[in-house]
């Protein structure tokens, strides 16, 4: 699937659902990069139809509204929107 890995320190499994055009998604990626957190992102607008359907099924489990960014940590914590403080807490930053 079309997930892109970004290297950094292992803070657990960090998977974010994003749009390439969304400024809040960019801010989320920048925040993770600045804090040197390893993560993977899925730019939903850059996927082909099948990949997008699969990604939406996964995203919907976490966030009914399928809005971006959605940050999922360790398959257990979900943060919708760029909420810096909540991301810090989830990743112990």
């Amino acid at each position: 699937m079309g997930a892109t890995k970004v290297d950094g320190n292992d803070k657990g499994k960090v998977r974010i659902f994003t749009l390439s055009t969304c400024i809040w998604c960019k801010k989320t990626k920048e925040f993770l990069a600045q804090n040197n957190v390893a993560y993977e992102y899925i730019d939903m607008d850059m996927l082909d139809a099948d990949e997008k359907d699969a990604a939406l099924v996964e995203l919907k489990k976490w966030n009914e509204k399928c809005s971006m960014p959605t940050v999922v940590v360790n398959d257990s914590v979900c943060i919708v929107g760029f909420k810096e403080q909540e991301i810090r807490e989830a990743l112990s930053l």
Binding site: C22, C25, C66, S67
Partner: protein, 185 residues
């Protein structure tokens, strides 16, 4: 292709788009985000979407890829004014309230106001069947006449401008007076 060109040409197009957005916002009594690099980044994303879809789909929402699926989220979206009124910014925060424009209020994440049925339709890439799945539209999208759910009409006491919407605009788009100069018509 319009997407090609040098970096300099690209930057010039973004600049031109930003200036156009800013001018149009000011003319209508709206405000762009005062963080200029932020607003320009969104201007660039709008250009990307214009090239990609043929219309300026909201950069911060998942496009359905077809105009009829995205009508309500073509920038400026149907939800801008209500979100600026309630949260001080539209969903992307390209448009902000006067308070935010004057740096008297911070922008916070804006919850999604778009009805679930429209989000679902965009995700599927198919329009919902009208009969079986009636869409609960935002008040501002309801018909402006008759019935208990009719939208109120507001009158600018200065210039007489009339508009049918949930609340009067922050600034009269015609004569630029503030919303407290409006009365229920």
């Amino acid at each position: 292709m319009s997407g090609a060109g040098t970096e300099g040409e690209r930057a010039a197009r973004v600049e031109a788009k930003y200036e156009k957005l800013k001018k149009e916002a000011a003319a209508g009594g709206y405000f762009l985000n005062p963080d200029e690099p932020f607003a320009k980044d969104l201007a660039e994303s709008l250009l990307v979407n214009e090239e990609r879809y043929g219309y300026a789909a909201c950069p911060c929402r998942l496009s359905g890829g077809k105009r009829e699926l995205d009508l309500d989220i073509i920038c400026p979206c149907d939800y801008r004014d209500a979100d600026v009124e309630e949260h001080g910014a539209c969903y992307c925060a390209l448009y902000v309230s006067g308070e935010v424009a004057r740096s008297e209020r911070e922008v916070e994440p804006v919850p999604e106001r778009r009805p679930d049925a429209l989000i679902e339709a965009a995700a599927k890439g198919e329009l919902p069947v009208a009969e079986s799945q009636p869409i609960e539209r935002a008040p501002s999208q309801r018909a402006a006449f008759g019935g208990s759910s009719a939208i109120p009409v507001w009158r600018c006491k200065v210039c007489g401008y009339l508009c049918a919407r949930d609340n009067p605009p922050g600034v009269c788009p015609i004569c630029k007076v503030t919303k407290d100069r409006f009365e229920r018509f």
